[in-house]
């Protein structure tokens, strides 16, 4: 018995060694083609990287959107595959080393995605004054950092207009992630939009304290729908998955409830039966444009860029026509024009 086992163990070990050997042979030509692809690439070759926050690159939200922006950049500029890359952070201790990894490796531009990364990105930027960095959702005051922020309140205002028009119970809900300035802008804009259409509509607002807890999102949505609300607008990243889940359950039982998605067109993920519309935030466009500007030598370090309705940085998803009647969309468009012209100022604090 023991002999058999010892033979088996030796066999396993040698087999895995052989397998490992095969692997190295196989992978080599792949690496070479990658390098060749780079050589044949067109003139502007830049290397752009991003570091996600703890949400990770598959968060169905702004991290994913940012990565899509970089992938688009790679395709459009015909860059080699390896010229765009990302690192995922599993805790806030990793933001600094992850950003530093790209900076020390002389990448042309390194993105930090998310408000939570502000302080960490600033530290890296000050320690490496020759590097170029950019950040989404936070203001970083350093000469080598370009900050990109969105006027979420303007886009959310339109979501509020749609919600107030479509609500039958005259009660709408808001589910927020963590109560930080970014999310506060969603909340205030949404409420202002609702009140602009009909001041008698009640807005129930709840912060869940997390961006990554679908279970909490589901129970929160359950209690809000339970109070007679029929439309919830969520700005809570992955937590919002639970809001959609609860809406789906209630829809199956015959209740007439809706969710307004956030950041991306969430009807593509969760279906048209429950997604009324989405307040999209074009993180992908922002990442794409700022990175592309770099190839033309235009990097606006130290500048803070605000993208609102006028710049098409925020707005309602194009698929809204499926569930929202035309006259409501028309009204939203009217409000949009008023905001763009400055006739209406949406509160953001």
């Amino acid at each position: 018995m023991k002999k058999v086992l010892s033979v088996l163990s030796v066999a396993t070990l040698s087999l895995s060694l052989v397998l490992a050997g095969c692997g190295s042979k196989e992978a080599q030509p792949q690496g070479q083609t990658g390098a060749n692809g780079g050589a044949t690439g067109s003139a502007p070759t830049i290397k752009v990287a991003m570091v996600t926050d703890v949400g990770g690159v598959n968060d169905n939200s702004f991290n994913q959107s940012a990565w899509e922006g970089l992938q688009k950049l790679q395709k459009d500029l015909n860059l080699p595959q390896d010229n765009v890359n990302y690192l995922q952070s599993t805790s806030d201790a990793e933001y600094v080393p992850n950003l530093t990894q790209f900076v020390k490796d002389k990448w042309d531009l390194t993105w930090g995605i998310g408000y939570l990364m502000g302080d960490h990105l600033k530290k890296v930027a000050t320690e490496n004054p020759d590097s170029k960095l950019a950040i989404i959702d936070a203001e970083v005051d350093a000469p080598n950092v370009e900050s990109v922020l969105f006027k979420e309140h303007e886009g959310s205002f339109l979501a509020g207009v749609v919600a107030a028009k479509m609500s039958k119970s005259k009660k709408v809900g808001f589910v927020g992630g963590v109560e930080i300035p970014v999310i506060k802008r969603f909340e205030l804009g949404f409420e202002a939009g609702v009140k602009a259409v009909d001041p008698s509509v009640q807005v129930i607002k709840v912060y869940t304290g997390a961006f990554d807890k679908p279970d909490v999102g589901k129970s929160t949505a359950s209690s809000i729908y339970g109070q007679g609300v029929d439309i919830i607008f969520h700005a809570s990243g992955g937590t919002g998955d639970g809001v959609f889940n609860e809406a789906k359950d209630r829809k199956a039982k015959g209740q007439d409830v809706w969710v307004i998605g956030v950041d991306k067109d969430q009807s593509l993920t969760f279906g048209d039966e429950i997604t009324l519309t989405s307040m999209v935030k074009r993180v992908d466009e922002a990442v794409y444009l700022v990175s592309k500007d770099l190839t033309e030598g235009k990097f606006e370090g130290g500048k803070i860029k605000w993208l609102g309705l006028a710049e098409d940085g925020v707005g309602l998803a194009s698929t809204s026509t499926k569930n929202v009647p035309e006259d409501v969309l028309k009204l939203a468009e009217e409000y949009k024009q008023k905001i763009v012209k400055g006739e209406i100022t949406v509160p953001d604090k």
């Binding site: 023991k2 070990l13 397998l19 190295s24 703890v54 390896d82 690192l87 600094v96 963590v178 997390a210």
Partner: protein, 357 residues
């Protein structure tokens, strides 16, 4: 020379070593299945960790809290308790040290030690809640300590929001300079990696762990209770008191770990949306280290290298993060599954015995 060989072929050393190798091989197979080159990936991992002064320093930063939480779990384990609550004890340690670090204005030689002691006491008290419930009411410490993790997380966020976070911010004010335990000259040597005195304290804590358990009377009692509570009680030891004591000391280790993370790495405390994870990793570290102080330190080094180096595998060899987790998990799996590993080790041990004859 024979003695050295004897140490390295001892079963307690050989089993974890073989487990690590098996884990890495399983990880390699997983990477092959995914179409990645495992050799390149492991080289990239090592390059990430040892390739530059900065990254090497950051690896040490990553290892330090793992030593503390590993010791916290291992210490309780020696008294027969499964301390899943290192996470919570770590968090309250962070809170206490932030409170002391922000609020007081003292000379550095008092301020920093005071902040660390505050963290230690807070972590210890948090741990002893679970210990007390076990001793007085017989509540299983696994349940209470895991629940207390969540209590600690939300309690920490509440304390921060209520007392230390300026309006509209996501983090507390910076701690006073006098409470900072960063070693600036060493940090400068390592290309501004965040190195701090906590690493030295962690090594001292491991020595303290050894001395108290194996060189003192009360340590003897703690271990006796762990081996057989009934026999210990019959021999006249107070089992309940030892249970609380073990959880207090275990919690203290985790609490100091949390304090060092604030005072040495961040210098402020942010609102946490999820648990930092060092406590749970500490369970694996204690397990790999066989609940001995030296083992814990070595296991923390391994774990720290794997977690910090994983970014290198992504960066250098394009291996996705999910696959890197598979590698780490398979190492833990084989360490936990002693039985499987022993099958592989047996032939070696048998040969050694025959050679001896």
């Amino acid at each position: 020379m024979n003695k050295v060989i004897a140490v390295f072929t001892k079963e307690s050393f050989l089993v974890p070593l073989v487990a690590i190798i098996l884990g890495l091989l399983t990880g390699a197979v997983a990477m092959l299945a995914g179409g990645f080159n495992p050799v390149k990936a492991y080289v990239a991992l090592l390059e990430k960790v040892f390739g530059s002064a900065y990254n090497f320093g950051e690896t040490i930063r990553q290892i330090t809290p793992l030593i503390f939480t590993g010791l916290a779990v291992a210490f309780a384990f020696r008294t027969g308790l499964f301390n899943i609550g290192a996470e919570g004890q770590f968090i309250v340690g962070m809170v206490a040290s932030t409170a002391v670090g922000v609020s007081f204005d003292l000379p550095a030689y008092i301020h920093a030690p005071l902040a660390i002691i505050a963290g230690a006491v807070a972590g210890g008290l948090w741990g002893s809640i679970a210990g007390y419930l076990k001793a007085a009411r017989g509540v299983n410490e696994v349940i209470t300590s895991i629940m207390l993790n969540w209590v600690a997380l939300y309690f920490a966020n509440w304390v921060m929001n209520a007392f230390f976070i300026p309006a509209g911010q996501q983090r507390s004010e910076m701690i006073q300079d006098s409470a900072v335990i960063t070693i600036s000259w060493l940090s400068a040597m390592f290309d501004s990696a965040r190195l701090h005195w906590g690493t030295l304290i962690a090594i001292l804590a491991a020595i303290f762990f050894y001395v108290i358990l194996w060189k003192t009377k009360s340590g003897y009692e703690l271990r006796a209770v762990g081996l057989n509570p009934h026999a210990s009680e019959y021999a006249g030891m107070n089992v309940n008191r030892n249970v609380v004591k073990a959880m207090f000391i275990g919690g203290m280790f985790a609490g100091i770990g949390g304090a060092c993370e604030i005072l040495g790495v961040f210098h402020y405390q942010a609102i946490m949306t999820s648990q930092p994870g060092y406590g749970f990793d500490g369970i694996a570290v204690a397990l790999i280290g066989g609940n001995t102080p030296l083992g814990v330190v070595l296991a923390a080094i391994l774990f720290g290298i794997l977690t910090f180096g994983s970014a290198g595998m992504k960066f250098g060899a394009g291996v996705p993060v999910e696959l890197i987790r598979v590698v780490i998990a398979s190492v833990i799996f084989f360490v936990a599954a002693h039985g499987i590993v022993k099958i592989f080790v047996k032939p070696i041990l048998k040969k050694k015995k025959e050679g001896g004859n």
